[in-house]
Amino acid sequence: MSYKNVIQTIHKKFPEAIVNECENKGQREISLAKNRFYETMRVLQENTDLPYDLLIDILGIDYTPRTPRFDLVYILLSTKDFSRLIVRLKAEEGEEIPSVSSIWHSADWAEREVYDLMGIPFSDHPDLKRILTWKNFEGHPLRKDFPLEGKDFDKPFDPETIEDYT
């Protein structure tokens, strides 16, 4: 099994990188430790056994009041045998996560979206700023403490207050 080879390669190179390995509804899933995260992701993309060359998506889940607060989920796909791998990483509030946009280009916007909506910052990202909301938007809407309707919902709306990137 080539998937096992990949896991073994990671185990050999970085013995403490993989915290947990399981199968969830027929989907392979691994949890990674933060300290060797970037290198492990690079191995997942560059290995020759089963390269996970397509980063499908990145998402954050807010598990407040748990600490660490966030779960970051990376969904990977290998175009060799079309198998998926879900990579999970726990993140503390305000803690910078290494950006993987230099490995997969698709991570560029995906990380910006996570930063915008969930408020998880990424280090070494080429252009980390808000993407879906506007420049002077306050707060991160997908956090559980953000009200659905925003804070000024009952006041009349003035478009002059919106500041956009130029």
């Binding site: 969830n24 499908i56 998506d57 998402l59 969904i75 560029d108 809407p141 997908l142």
Partner: protein
């Protein structure tokens, strides 16, 4: 030699050819694009946040409004995800009806694509023929669901109701008619000299790069990677049907055009097989916690009335689990990552939109081409802003 000066051009969000409210800042040297920066978010409606405050049935209309050009395909993705989370198996007849609706929606999405793509490049007559055929599918939607553009025909655990004989006849008529319509598009475009000149060798992207940029769907297949969710991870009985995955080789605008044109006929093939082999049986899962009781039963039986009330007010409950499920939408891999927490609302719903990643590659596709080619490139990756911004 005179010093060349850069010019900045702001395209959109109000622009007739950006397919909605996409905004691109172009940096030009003469008429050549030196740099392009797409800006999105002008249609960000907060669907993911809204979903956390709705129950599972109430989210279905919201998913219609993601990729509004092919609404039923989004319903399919969402319903399949929730059923996967709840561990429900949908009856065969409902699965086939879903396949018919999703494939009709894919054709509808491609109709919009071919019409506007050709209109943007300058071939005006195609859009009239495309919308003539699109209206036929809208009428089919209206017959079965009561709504033209956003049918919301799917339910958790099945579909809203059984197919009417008129619906089946309309689908058969469409399957019979549409090859002629498709032939018309081919005659107008495929060997048209102006069309080939405007689209060949424009916006070329290799397979490795396309994969690295997160391409999926017809745009990835145009570059030669035969990745189709319907074959790779079959859902809703897609493994019962016989169809091919068209692939291109170069990955330019013309290849993506050919792939989508072939998808028209493959979708038609699937619809034909599904409507002719439509199995008998119920269209909703036999689970009192998920599916609605019959109206006849409600009028006679108090417990059925209470059940109907509970399902409408509270809705089905999902277990504490997480699941990622994706379907082949009209534009590519449409994925839903759903976290249930044992209540009637999802804890977190993340929508993986294919167009989001396609749009992120616009700078890569555009740089080095002329401004007029930018329009062809935007058309060829077929972005729908409702899905990008969610």
């Amino acid at each position: 030699m005179a010093e060349s000066k850069k010019m900045y051009l702001n395209m959109g969000p109000h622009h007739p050819a950006t397919h909605g409210v996409l905004r691109i800042e172009l940096e030009l040297d003469g008429e050549t694009i030196v740099n392009a920066t797409p800006r999105i978010g002008y249609l960000h409606r907060g669907i993911e946040k809204l979903a956390e405050n709705r129950n599972y049935q109430q989210i279905i209309p919201l998913t219609d409004r993601l990729d509004y050009a092919s609404a039923s395909a989004n319903n399919m993705g969402y319903c399949v995800t929730v059923e996967n989370l709840m561990g429900t198996e949908v009856p065969k007849r409902a699965q086939y009806l879903r396949v018919i609706m999703a494939e009709l929606a894919r054709i509808m999405g491609h109709h919009l694509w071919i019409g506007t793509h050709a209109l943007d490049i300058g071939a005006m007559s195609v859009v009239f023929y495309a919308f003539r055929d699109r209206e036929m599918i809208m009428d089919i939607n209206e017959e079965i669901a009561g709504y033209r553009l956003t049918p919301t025909f799917f339910r958790i655990g099945g579909v809203a109701h059984d197919a009417t004989p008129k619906f089946i006849q309309m689908v058969r008529d469409f399957v019979k008619w549409f090859p002629k319509g498709l032939d018309g598009y081919h005659k107008l475009l495929t060997e048209n000299k102006i069309w080939t000149t405007r689209t060949m060798d424009i916006g070329t992207i290799s397979a490795e790069e396309a994969v690295n940029y997160g391409f999926t769907g017809p745009s990835l297949r145009g570059s030669g990677v035969a990745y189709d969710l319907r074959k790779a991870f079959p859902y809703s009985s897609y493994d019962d049907f016989d169809f091919q995955i068209p692939v291109g080789d170069k990955g330019d605008v013309y290849d993506r055009y050919l792939v989508r044109m072939e998808e028209f006929s493959q979708s038609l093939k699937i619809i034909d097989q599904a409507i002719e082999n439509l199995p008998e049986g119920p269209v909703n899962v036999d689970n009192p916690w998920i599916s609605n009781p019959d109206l006849d039963e409600v009028q006679k039986d108090i417990s059925a009335l209470i059940r109907r009330f509970m399902i409408h007010v509270k809705g089905p409950v999902a277990p504490e689990a997480e699941v990622y499920q994706a379907v082949e939408g009209a534009k590519g891999e449409l994925g839903f990552y759903l976290v249930g927490d044992g209540s009637e609302h999802p804890y977190r719903l993340k929508i993986r939109s294919p167009c989001f990643y396609l749009a992120s590659a616009l700078p890569r596709l555009m740089v080095g081409h002329m401004v007029a080619d930018a329009i062809a490139i935007i058309g060829s990756i077929d972005v729908v802003l409702g899905e990008i911004d969610r």
